[in-house]
């Protein structure tokens, strides 16, 4: 049974790509180039006997100080691969232990807090319009430069640059992973920093907002619904709004990705609809594979984290038998 159906394979998304999309991101990346990260490491409060743990702070665009948790293997005598796990919507980089399996396998792990969500990173940008709830529509009333996710996506790229610049990191082996918002940011990061070599999004969010609006549920859909109810009940600005969201739509950034991709999609995802996920997957120009979970939705899908780990770490375990 082919679950990645012809319909999904052919789906190209319905959210517009603004005409000046490339200029928009060229300007944004130029701004990032001009943003000196001024990275700072502080020994973390949490202790682990086999690993070195730090709080990493760096400058994002628009004057924001961004925080990430950084886990380093003790042995840094050779260049190490790195993995950047991004977190879910409204959350934070979370627990030190969550991604230690990568550090234990010799990876540098850097987990960023998305600005203005539950972690420590600052949301430095004042915007016009509604502020009560949600980040998807934040900044929709102003210049497209004020869209909330523009700066978050640039923060993700800045994190990749900071990590790649570390002496002990092999910048040709840096991967991005994440579920939901984290999946979307993993994609954005790999698009804006094309040296990222592997990308593994799970049920990615931030793709094809209009499909999410028409078919989705959950927080992002709710925000859009509330926004239209309050500010545009007759949908007079529908085209304008989705065209503007198109600037921060990862399906429009996907063509920049050079990384090898393994995406995981649950067919029963009613929050980030499979079509919206297919829209971005179909636009990756690099080597790619999609793994479908037919019976799972927007959740921890069976052994997905292990499949992702195998993809990132790559090598099969060497079968050696000490008794022989």
């Amino acid at each position: 049974m082919e679950y990645f159906t012809d319909e999904l394979k052919a789906y190209r998304g319905i959210t517009p790509k603004p005409e000046d999309f490339d200029e928009y991101w060229s300007r944004a990346l130029a701004e990032l180039d001009a943003t000196e990260p001024c990275a700072e490491l502080r020994t973390a409060e949490f202790y682990h006997p086999g690993l070195d743990l730090f709080d990493l702070y760096f400058n994002g665009t628009c004057g924001a100080r961004i925080h990430a948790k950084l886990i380093l293997p003790k042995d840094r005598s050779k260049k190490l691969p790195a993995v950047l796990p991004f977190h879910v919507y409204s959350g934070s980089s979370g627990l030190w232990l969550t991604n230690m399996c990568y550090a234990a396998a010799g990876y540098v792990v850097a987990m960023m807090d998305v600005r203005g969500q539950a972690g420590e990173s600052q949301d430095s940008v004042a915007v016009s319009g509604s502020l009560h709830h949600g980040h998807v529509m934040r900044g929709i009333e102003g210049d497209a430069e004020k869209l909330f996710y523009r700066n978050v996506m640039l923060d993700a790229a800045q994190l990749a640059r900071v990590v790649m610049d570390m002496d002990f990191v092999d910048e040709t082996r840096v991967s991005t992973i994440g579920g939901s918002q984290g999946g979307g940011l993993a994609i954005a990061c790999a698009a804006l920093e094309p040296r990222i070599s592997k990308l593994s999004p799970i049920n990615p969010f931030l793709s094809d907002y209009m499909t999410a609006y028409r078919q989705g549920g959950g927080p992002a859909y709710e925000e859009m619904l509330v926004w239209f109810r309050q500010f545009d009940p007759h949908h007079k600005r529908l085209d304008e709004v989705f065209n503007k969201l198109g600037y921060v739509d990862v399906q429009n950034l996907a063509c920049r990705v050079k990384a090898e991709v393994r995406q995981f999609t649950g067919l029963r995802d009613f929050i980030c609809p499979p079509k919206a996920q297919a829209a971005v997957f179909n636009k990756f120009p690099s080597k790619k594979e999609i793994v479908i979970f037919p019976d799972y939705g927007h959740e921890q899908m069976a052994n997905v984290t292990e499949m992702q780990f195998e993809f990132i770490v790559g090598a099969q375990p060497q079968k050696e038998c000490k008794q022989c």
């Binding site: 409204s90 959350g91 934070s92 600005r115 203005g116 969500q117 539950a118 600052q122 949301d123 430095s124 940008v125 004042a126 915007v127 016009s128 319009g129 509604s130 502020l131 009560h132 709830h133 949600g134 980040h135 934040r138 009333e141 309050q230 500010f231």
Partner: protein, 314 residues
């Protein structure tokens, strides 16, 4: 359910910061230093009894604030004025609601609270969580950065602007509202004590810690629990958190009110706990009256706007 007699003894549990009065003195100074740059634009909505304008002014933090204003067509200046504040996350009331007051001779004004569902903006970046909630917006920054401080100053500024209008009798300026709007009605009467009458229906914005203790539920209140869950799950900063919210707790300003006050309260309110409402009400020293509805919760109680209308006309 507590009786009125029990509620009348309740003093509130949210701490009052030691420099509370200086905080609001500085805030009012800041507000008075802002050039409001008032603009009145004739609205698309037309009505035979009132001239309807969209009013814009600059509030603190260089933000443009919008209010609807309906001015009676037939008047000889010296009009009474009514400022009608909206519920949390909403927007200024529809024109038809305003016009029913304007037709009775009131200059009637409905402000959009900044950053909520109307068109007022809040152009101030804050540290900490910006994903959800305005009550907790700025709580991890300086106390001056609390979002509600700016909203309160907008309410006071607009009240003073309306008082200064040539069509308005400054001694007949009234405030009214439900929930957040009821809180803002009390707040405006506290920061601008010349306000002569105040109608607070199920007011929010008082005694925030009581919301948390009562496990009340509603859009403003979920924010408190969410904040602790993600930022302080073991409540190590609880005292600091509620003390900071104390700066924007209207019970701490209620003693400044000189207006005649009516409080309409549903005693079964699980959104804005009656205790929290009474924490503010009990601190009012001017003439006041409570109109309790035993069987009502957080809702527009039957006939309460009509009763209040009589109070405002009297």
């Amino acid at each position: 359910m507590l009786t009125i007699e029990e509620l009348e003894k309740y003093e509130g549990v949210t701490p009052r910061p030691v420099d509370f009065d200086e905080y609001w003195e500085r805030a009012m100074e800041e507000m008075h230093s802002v050039d409001p740059k008032v603009e009145m634009i004739l609205s698309d909505f037309v009505h035979p009894a009132a001239d309807c304008f969209d009013m814009y002014f600059t509030g603190v933090g260089n933000s443009r604030i919008h209010a609807k204003i309906a001015i009676p067509k037939q008047h000889e200046n010296n009009c009474p004025a009514l400022l009608w504040f909206h519920g949390y996350t909403g927007a200024g009331d529809p024109w038809l609601n305003l016009v029913s007051y304007a037709a009775a001779g009131f200059v009637t004004v409905a402000m959009d609270c900044r950053g909520q569902g109307g068109s007022s903006e809040d152009m101030v970046a804050v540290k900490g969580n910006t994903y959800h909630g305005l009550l907790v917006r700025g709580v991890e920054d300086e106390p001056e950065k609390l979002q509600f401080r700016r909203m309160y100053l907008d309410a006071a500024q607009l009240t003073e602007l309306v008082m200064a209008m040539e069509q308005v009798d400054a001694d007949k300026v009234y405030t009214q509202g439900m929930s957040q709007g009821g809180g803002l009605a009390l707040l405006a009467a506290a920061l601008v004590p010349r306000v002569a009458k105040c109608v607070a229906i199920a007011p929010f914005l008082s005694d925030f810690k009581q919301y948390y203790l009562s496990h009340s539920s509603g859009p403003g209140i979920d924010e408190l629990g969410n904040w602790f869950r993600v930022r302080d799950p073991l409540h190590k900063r609880e005292e600091e958190f509620f003390t900071k919210l104390g700066y924007v707790d209207i019970q701490n300003l209620a003693h400044r009110i000189r207006a005649k006050v009516q409080l309409y309260i549903g005693l079964a309110d699980v959104v804005c706990p009656p205790k929290a409402q009474f924490a503010a009400y009990n601190k009012i020293t001017s003439e006041k009256e409570v109109i309790p509805y035993e069987d009502y919760g957080h809702e527009m109680m039957p006939n309460c706007r009509e009763e209040a209308f009589g109070f405002l006309l009297s």
